[in-house]
Amino acid sequence: MHGLINRSLQCFLRDTYGVTVWAQIASAAGVGVEGFEPLLTYDDSITETLVATAALHLNRPRDTVLEDLGTYLVSHDNLQSLRRLLRFGGVSFVDFLHSMEDLPEHGRLGLPDLDLPDFTLIEQGQGAFRLYVTPMIAGTGHVMVGLLRAMADDYGALVLLEHGGQDQGREVISVHLLDKNHADGRRFDLAAAER
């Protein structure tokens, strides 16, 4: 698994539950407290162990932990650069949904060795979509539910999201767009603020 993914898990646990909790989970999962380097690659089993250990330690269902991770990736102040990169996907939430299919390619533009889930979007009409995700670990779809919910907020769209279980090895998310202009959403300037 790419270090970037393990690193996001680490930052999510650290920023949400504090350094001490992260240190406890890391230690229980056999990971050094310094965690992961985002540009290195780690054995896949480490990610699985870390997620399972976090759910156990936090006494929360695995799916909820993963969904919170997805929300964190878009909404936390420390990850504004990721939110910006996702917003480049389109000017509306529907544009963004369609851009999910290009997400792995977009990721590889920056990090050629980055593996991301594969997405297939089926438009069913009247604001209904089904998004198929090839999981990287069991429950990847729940990360996407959290991420899509936060992105809908970001665009100011009102959506109903539901994890629809498995279908031939892929996880299915149903998306119902109720109102694409429900709220103002967050501002997105094409050019990043000058450093």
Partner: protein, 329 residues
């Protein structure tokens, strides 16, 4: 409208395809203008005005009349807004139209990011076929990756410095170790720097270890290390090279008198009893000295061997004293 008859495109359609185009009639007046260029002109209405009144050509230079414009097709263009000639030029290409006019299409080129910021451009200002948004995306990805690389490099650099420091340090006393000495001596000799070298061996250290235990011995070694640090300069190399053996290298010091004084001060300090858990530990120090003059760049080993010989002469002469190797001669 006339320039577009061949394809039947309205200026609005053309503007969607090419939001930064300029359509000119044969007289060099503006017939049509893409919406992004219109945005850049900030409310001016340039339709019907002479192209050269609204824009200026930076490349090719020397074109001043509408007639000159017929030379534009096939050339690389750099065009500025007339009232803002200090801003970065747009780049583009002109092609002749069937009606004898020109169709010019422009782009921000490499200055895209600055332009987006300066003119608050949005997704709608670019044609969907334009890769401008992808370029902006790539720049942000690149910056994020570079930032991570820089952070990783700094942390690796820090770890490398710490590991090197650790590899050259004696863990018990915090002094340098034999590896550090073996790395430093040949380079000092190669540089031709004059220096003095002391080989120090503790007297009666074995008795302390045997009667008071290893903890007392370690305490004494740390105390001796402290004494050596106090009696030397920070630029000197002080290394523990064996159980109770130390080497001090003093760059720039090659006077026997001065080195002899330092050696004596070390002996005096080390000879003071050290208290450990209520008991007094007594050791002293025997020292052999040698000077770098007379050794070639590859003779570090001989230099240490000579200091060692001088040290044993000190031991045989009754301990707690210092001798120079050359003095044996």
């Amino acid at each position: 409208m006339q320039i577009l008859d061949g394809l039947g495109l309205s200026p609005a359609s053309l503007s969607q395809l090419m939001p930064m185009h300029i359509g000119l009639c044969p007289q060099g007046r503006i017939l049509s203008l893409g919406r992004t260029l219109a945005h850049l002109l900030q409310g001016q209405d340039p339709i019907g005005k002479a192209f050269l009144d609204v824009f200026s050509l930076r490349r090719p230079a020397g074109l001043h009349s509408a007639k000159d414009l017929q030379n534009l097709p096939g050339q690389r263009l750099q065009i500025c807004l007339r009232d803002r000639e200090k801003t970065e030029p747009l780049r583009g290409l002109a092609v002749p139209t069937a009606q004898g006019g020109l169709l010019i299409n422009l782009s921000f080129g490499i200055r895209l990011i600055e332009a987006v910021r300066q003119h608050a451009l949005t997704d709608a200002d670019f044609a969907p076929t334009d890769l401008a948004i992808e370029m902006l995306y790539l720049v942000e990805v690149k910056n994020a990756v570079m930032q991570e690389l820089r952070r990783l490099n700094l942390s690796l650099q820090g770890a490398k410095v710490a590991a090197e420091e650790q590899a050259l340090t004696d863990t018990l006393t915090g002094l340098r170790n034999r590896r550090a000495l073996e790395a430093r001596l040949p380079s000092l000799l190669a540089q031709g720097v004059d220096f003095g070298l002391m080989h120090i061996d503790l007297d009666f250290f074995k008795q302390v270890n045997d009667t008071l235990g290893h903890a007392a011995g370690d305490h004494v070694l740390r105390h001796v290390a402290q004494s050596l640090t106090i009696e030397t300069r920070s630029s000197d190399l002080v290394a523990r090279v064996g159980g109770d053996e130390f080497v001090v290298v003093l760059p720039g010091l090659s006077g026997k008198e001065r080195l002899g004084q330092i050696a004596q001060r070390i002996i005096d300090r080390v000879s003071q009893p050290v208290e450990f858990e209520g008991k007094l530990c007594r050791v002293s120090a025997s020292i052999g000295l040698t000077l770098s003059t007379g050794y070639g760049a590859t003779e570090a080993d001989r230099m240490i061997a000579d200091a060692d010989a001088a040290l044993y002469a000190s031991k045989h002469a009754g301990r707690a004293q210092a001798r120079f190797f050359s003095a044996l001669g």
